[in-house]
Amino acid sequence: MTNAEGTTKKAGKSAVGIFFEEVSRSSLIVPVLAIFSGLLLGGVIVGLSSENVYTMWAVSPIQAIGNGLKAAWESYVTLFSGAFGSPAKMIAAIQGGDGLEIRRAFNPIFESLVKSTPYIFGGLAVALGFRSGLFNIGVEGQIFMGGIFSVWVGYTFTGLPAIIHLPLAFLAGALGGALWGFIPGLLKAKTGGHEVINTIMMNYIAFRLTDWLLREPMKRPGSTNPISPIIEDSARLPQFFQDPIRFHLGFFIALAVAALVYWFLFKTKWGFDLRTVGANPRAARYAGMNIVKSTIVAMSLSGALAGMAGANELLGVNHHLSQTFSPGYGFDSIALALLGRNHPLGVVLSALLFGTLRNGAMRMQAAAGIPIDIISVMQALILAFIAAPAIVRTIYRLKEPKKAEAGVHVRGWGGS
């Protein structure tokens, strides 16, 4: 009887309504709407920060609002053509047949992938931590450690074949990051020292260590700037095209590592250990799992993934270490891991979004004079919507999920 009532109720709704209801129950809808809302509000902010709006306001408020909308629209057009390239230019370049012009026309979309790559590694690092019940805020520091280790291997060893040198340098980066994750992991497991505090501290140590290394032992001979020597060709991640396209092997390594992390977390007994400790440490102990080991392993692996982000940037793009090679990849990674619901596939998708936005914004800054910081504002807005799914559900009148699946996978400050 209950069933019959349910069916009639459903039949009363339009097909679109049912479709929307089905979609709204899936876990994808909140992130998508959060991105949409973030872009929308970001546009409002661009409009409001446009000078034309205020100079026009005294003359005609309607005209002023029109100016604001126009400013927002134009900046989004530059943003997206900056991120994906302009179709007209692509066609013209292909017709022209000049190799360099073609590469230039297609460069934006490849550059977006280049920008996305460190985000994939960083997001995986944060997601693996979250899944294991650990909040790794130290990704940025681990990226620097990965950079230091990989660059050192990259310029110190000479005469090695690329087939040996490149993997060695890349894995050295992973090792550097792993070390920087291992220490707070050990402190957490053995003394209960909270990983949030300790990874933040480890960040500062990594930054200052980088400063010192670049002034003293790792300084490029003959340079007045604090930068390291350039790595050997044999340690470079191969690029697939000629200048100006910087698209390199790192992107595919990142995708492979994402698949590996997925396999590890969801298909192996080790991943089962980590996820169980993350989901319910008391039940994990009851089930005979070793929480100390799991915590240390999770933090080390998370650090290793972060270290790969550093190695990827330096072996693939920069080819030397400097103090500014990461524009905060590690911190953005926390946001994008949450956006991707701490799932490797979600992380890859949100990393692509973040990389694309960042690349588009750089070109928007150059072309339209809109500061790149607008991207940070948008990212913050998207994140705020993700962190508070209730807001999105209220705005778009979505139904509550059946259980608290939308929650953040991390334990509170008091609980551990």
């Binding site: 298909k267 192996t268 080790w270 319910n280 994990a284 102990r285």
Partner: protein, 508 residues
């Protein structure tokens, strides 16, 4: 006379569930009206409607003959309805007075809290109903039974005339429950009307004036303790005849499985929670550990299962010393553990039923080959156990959090009893479960005993201990006061031992 409260045709639908189906109920002034039903029968939904937390889809509520629209809990309080929740709504660091004032503070000089006038009012109420409460006491220092009385005082202070008690005895010792019933009777005598929500048959027969049984959202019938007995109420509740007494043959104890000598275990607060406990447990017998909650049973179980390190003494399982063994080593030696708090310790709520069923065996064949989980084997295993243990789940792939409490417990029981085991440590295996699930779990435990498994049953429910045990060890303040064979055990004798009184001492 008009009933003080009438519910007429209350219907409440949730997506896919008809939680309340045209429920009608009347409450007379000065009456204790029990609402009896299994977990999930719709009792709590009905009371939440009455308390303004849900809105009924159909039906009306009348208070003293007048239609009442209760849209929020403050409407309910204004209408004189008060609720003692299963989980107390008290702030532990506040005093009784402060908790009672909360939300309705009396002030003087336009803003200074007037604790004294509230405190004196509490004293009046307390003496009128023999609640024996000190208004100055800090709530965190009070025993659970007294905290519950603070909740009652809060309602009386707000002059509620209709009191709803939601499963009030689930947190109480038998003695505290008896005290509560005394208080409920004196409240009713002075004209308060009480709705008493429970699934415990004995309590209903003891304290209620009328009993309404609810099953699957519908009223099955209303009766009185004079016209009903446990068997009749149980079959009304469950919808079929229920075996309340487990039939079991006499135990045939084999060799000693578990040998505990002079065991000492610290609590979280570093107090000696288990203080020199020794006993032996043989295969094929059930040793019940009785005692009021908090006398060291939890720590004893944790020490036996490797979750807590003993500071002294020894534990031997089938000749192997496991005093300092890890939980996994102890599990692998053939120990099954049904933990006291199933949601906190026994399950990962965000995992599907499949994964919870292999929570402590996921790493061995056939569930893992080398390091890779074998999803097919895990699913087959779950499908088999869901069937064999009658776990009511739409699919083994749904998260265990979506199951009812009884079915969650069945997941644990299935996981623990489906392995080849030598020792079963069951802590509060039926706490909070409905009659049907209790019957089921009891039968399974006795089955294991008859297969030769040594069973250690820790329970604060004396009925359960008396029914299942072959010997009863009574714990009091970290020690075993006495171990009594079931033939010599009477409720009175065990009750005295639980209070730390040795009958032998009194005679001597």
């Amino acid at each position: 006379m008009t009933p003080i409260l009438e519910l007429d045709g209350i219907t409440k639908r949730f997506p896919g569930v008809l939680a309340n189906d045209r429920i009608s109920l009347s409450l007379e002034e000065g009456e204790i009206h029990a609402l009896l039903g299994e977990n999930g029968a719709g009792k709590t939904t009905l009371m939440n409607i009455l308390y303004g937390l849900y809105h009924p889809d159909e039906g009306t509520i009348r208070i003293r003959g007048e239609v009442a629209h209760i849209r929020s809990s403050s409407d309910a309080i204004r209408a004189g309805i008060g609720m003692v929740h299963q989980h107390f709504m008290l702030i532990p660091v506040f005093t009784v007075t402060e908790n009672v004032m909360l939300g309705d503070e009396t002030t003087k000089f336009g803003g200074i809290l007037d604790r004294e006038s509230t405190a004196s009012r509490i004293r009046e109420i307390s003496s009128a109903y023999k609640l024996e409460i000190d208004p100055g006491a800090r709530v965190s220092t009070l025993p659970v039974g007294v905290q519950q009385r603070v909740e009652i005082i809060k309602l009386l202070y707000r002059e509620a005339s209709i009191l709803i008690f939601d499963e009030p005895t689930s947190v109480l010792t038998p003695q505290e429950a008896d005290q509560l019933f005394g208080i409920m009777r004196s409240l009713a005598k002075s004209g308060k009307s009480i709705i008493f929500i429970t699934h415990k048959l004995r309590e209903v027969l003891e304290v209620a004036d009328r009993i309404t049984v609810i099953r699957q959202g519908q009223v099955i019938g209303t009766t009185t303790p004079q016209d009903a007995d446990m068997g009749k109420l149980a079959s009304m509740m469950v919808g079929r005849d229920v075996v309340l007494e487990i039939e079991k043959a006499k135990a045939r104890p084999a060799e000693v499985t578990l040998r505990v000598k002079n065991l000492k275990v610290l609590s979280d607060r570093n107090a000696l929670a288990v203080n020199g406990v020794s006993f032996e447990l043989s295969g094929g017998e059930v040793l019940g550990v009785a005692g009021v909650q908090g006398n060291g049973q939890t720590e004893l179980v944790e020490a036996l299962t490797g979750l807590r390190r003993p500071v002294d003494g020894s534990i031997e399982l089938l000749g192997t010393d496991i005093t300092h063994a890890t939980p996994r080593q102890i599990t692998e030696l053939g120990t099954a553990h049904i933990p006291e708090d199933r949601q906190r310790d026994g399950l990962v709520l965000s995992y599907p039923v499949t994964d919870n069923l292999v929570l402590n065996t996921y790493y061995v064949r056939p569930f893992a080959a080398r390091a890779v989980l074998q999803r097919d084997a895990i699913l087959d295993h779950a499908t088999e156990l869901v069937e064999a243990f009658d776990i009511r789940a739409p699919s083994p792939l749904v998260d265990v959090s979506t199951l009812s409490g009884g079915n969650q417990q069945k997941v644990i029981v299935a996981r623990e009893l489906s392995r080849p085991i030598k020792l079963l440590v069951a802590a509060q295996p039926t706490r909070g479960l409905d009659v049907g699930s209790i019957e089921y779990i009891h039968t399974r435990v006795i089955e294991k005993r008859d297969e030769g498994v040594a069973v250690l049953l820790v329970s604060t429910e004396l009925d359960e201990i008396m029914q299942l045990s072959d010997r009863i060890a009574v714990m009091y303040r970290g020690q075993i006061v006495d171990i009594v064979a079931i033939e010599d055990a009477t409720k009175e004798r065990i009750g005295l031992l639980m209070a730390g009184i040795h009958p032998g001492d009194a005679g001597a």
